[in-house]
Assembly symmetry: C2
Homo-oligomer: 443 residues x 2
């Protein structure tokens, strides 16, 4: 596995690339920094998007079952109209009074439990987590952060240091502790809550013994980068109580599960029956416009705001607010969450039927339209499972359907279609995955 | 002065606010976190922008001589058309091949000295500086950062810790060192370079004695938050050489001076006759769309990219690229830099003429359309100078012209009009500042 733990990528020389794309890659590599990665063995090249579909320059279309940013679909006309209308009016910053900012903040806060009643806007999920950590450290007076084994929380200096998913070469903070999740540790559901609480308590003890203390338990409630470990619902409650006992805060990273991805709720933490101290938002919030937020409790926000000004030039600007407002309207008015649940049921039934026929599919986990599907034959080793998952992803890409991998061994398929997918899209996906799994198992 | 060093702000109860705005502030305060600040004693309320002007709900217009984000003017139709067109086509991310990203990267790189030949896109100036620090620390193997006394480099955890401008309550990194600038220290121009080099060498010695080493000298080449200390051109060269001798990098924070603000050059560092190792871009890049970048040298970028993936979901997305591309086209095609120089000359002449008549105006400093104007009577103490500057800013606001303050004592007027300002705007500004200075001095 490469040092940066992103196996589903283009590696020069490993796969044949058509001349047009080879030429573009060459130009790209001569101006973009080496930290960029292209997804898939043979990179995809897109020039148009619409709803569930992305189109290459030849007009060939790919079904997008991977991108959670365009949550209401690529190039949604209503979001675009809101963007264009606002761009023609004003793009104010938050140091000026402007009513749309306040209107949206009220609408957003109304989707949260009543104790989460204040918001700060950011431009990215990384900025949201970075700011939430600053607030939690100030509020708790502590420095320690607890995350899951294979967590990913952002690209800033501070968030990359609590993101073991970035690989060995990216330094971890001395004050971060990783805790094991019950699922990947093979703990049965009945013991999951106690196991996770014990892991977190041990981390707290260690942080306290070093004088670091615990500032926050920072988790994405569906544990997407660990491999999508969503069940049993509620298993994190005891751990959260332990962190609060120790003076720490719960930061719910909602960049992945938020805005209805789980179907049953607007926010992923609701699935676990708890309310966080801080919730961090990003990706789907503006359907692609760079906007994020931290939602939290007045007391913590006052503590931070009394001494620190947080001035983010672009964050909360009126164009971003207009996009986010349009997304929230669409999610609520069109009852997208109901659709998420019914499409998720259809996908789950189809995947279970495939699993019954194919030895290549292991456990299927999902919360709404965020699926993790374990790949590998019963006797496969880790490298074989990873290779098979990678084959499936790339066979599907060649067949015009986009997904990728996740998990500590990257042998779990990561499937996150835009929330507006319909029966025909689910069925097309199911045909493609069946074909790819069959080929990968036979091959 | 308030703990967060932002004197030009609204403080509840200090000034009478009309009912409509008071109501909006009340709603705002009940949903936005306490870290938000409203500018001016009586906040401004805008619902429309166009070119150099912002409009309140009653249609009253304000001349914008403060916002450097809308560098080609508020709601520029050409930038908006590019945004809308791209939003209707595709908003691809950088893990997919997409030609517009590569085209723009080539155009941007072409504006830099040839040794700065690689770019990474971000969403904000804070993200740019945060990433540049990560790259510099990895490339140098050191941890120390040297900044100016009153520097501001961003809102992320890492950048706020090297931003003394944020005030005493925001913790500084143990490995940051502040160095004095020759101008505010009263050093004559002929000794400025030697003074600054000696300051930086002392900081390096201290960092080395503690085993920290120097990763970077991080400076904004016009030292905007220190009070706009632009001269003498070239005074930083010896300090830069000292940092490089010690194994550190020069990071030029171009968020303020970049994209032609200084008129004579596209990039602020060019004024000082040096080329940085990393340049960080932000604010004006997309005329308000959240986009930034780090431009650097292949060797440093390769070192970082070989081990760390940097994946920023929104950064380099095609809508942001389309906006940035339109801005660059306008700057180059319409010869905006030439206009910056001629408008800056007109402003400088007008301000010098005012200074000759009024004892309230001290030194006038500028590089292109970034002006710092020291305020205070010859016998004024620091608090009186600050109060007079604040009065002038708020008298001008009441008279429909927007500027603010900067500097360690916040007694320097900070004036940064959009780069497309014309004679009539400069003249309107000069009338307003003369009236405000006269009233402030008499009052």
């Amino acid at each position: 596995m490469s040092t940066d733990l992103m196996p589903n990528r283009y590696t020069p020389g490993e796969a044949e690339v058509p001349e047009r794309e080879a030429e573009l890659i060459k130009r790209r590599d001569s101006v973009l920094a080496a930290s960029y990665r292209l997804q898939y063995r043979r990179p995809v090249h897109f020039v148009r998007g619409e709803g569930m579909w992305l189109y290459d320059p030849d007009g060939r279309r790919y079904l997008d079952f991977y991108n959670n940013v365009p949550c209401v679909g690529h190039c949604h006309p209503e979001v675009n109209a809101a963007m264009a209308k606002q761009a023609g009016l004003i793009n104010a910053n938050t140091r000026y009074l402007e009513p749309k900012l306040v209107n949206y903040a009220e609408r957003l806060i109304a989707t949260f439990p009543s104790e989460l009643d204040r918001v700060v806007f950011t431009c990215t999920g990384s900025e949201s987590n970075d700011l939430a950590l600053r607030i939690a450290k100030l509020a708790s007076g502590n420095d320690g952060v607890i995350v899951s084994t294979y967590a990913y929380h952002g690209t800033s200096a501070a968030t990359s240091m609590v993101s073991p998913n970035l690989g060995d070469a990216v330094k971890l903070s001395p004050s971060v502790r990783m805790v094991r999740l019950p699922g990947p540790a093979g703990v049965p559901p009945s013991e999951a809550a106690a196991f996770f609480e014990a892991e977190v308590r041990a981390a707290i003890t260690d942080l306290n013994r070093r004088g670091t203390g615990v500032a926050a338990l920072l988790i994405d409630s569906i544990f997407s980068s660990d491999g999508v470990w969503v069940d049993p619902a509620g298993f994190i409650a005891g751990a959260v109580a332990a962190v609060r006992e120790a003076g720490g805060l719960l930061i719910a990273d909602e960049v992945q599960p938020g805005f209805g991805r789980t179907g049953a709720h607007m926010w992923g933490f609701e699935r676990h029956g708890i309310a966080p101290d801080l919730a961090t938002l990003g990706k789907p919030m503006g359907n692609g416009f760079p906007i994020g937020a931290v939602v939290g409790r007045k007391a913590h926000m006052d503590h931070f705001g009394a001494t620190a000004r947080y001035s983010n030039t672009f964050a909360g600007n009126t164009i971003g607010i207009a996009c986010a407002d349009a997304v929230l309207t669409i999610l609520q008015r069109d009852k997208i969450l109901d659709r998420v649940l019914s499409m998720a049921d259809r996908m789950r039934a189809g995947l279970e039927s495939l699993a019954a026929k194919s030895a290549g599919i292991g456990e299927i986990r999902n919360a709404g339209l965020f699926f993790g599907v374990d790949i590998g034959l019963p006797d496969s080793g880790a490298a074989e499972r990873r290779a098979m998952a990678l084959n499936i992803v790339n066979l599907m890409r060649d067949n015009g359907v986009l997904i990728s991998t996740t998990g500590s061994n990257e042998d779990t398929l990561k499937i996150r279609p835009p929330l507006i997918c319909e029966e025909e899209h689910v069925d097309r996906f199911l045909v493609a995955i069946e074909s790819a799994v069959n080929r990968a198992v036979d091959g």
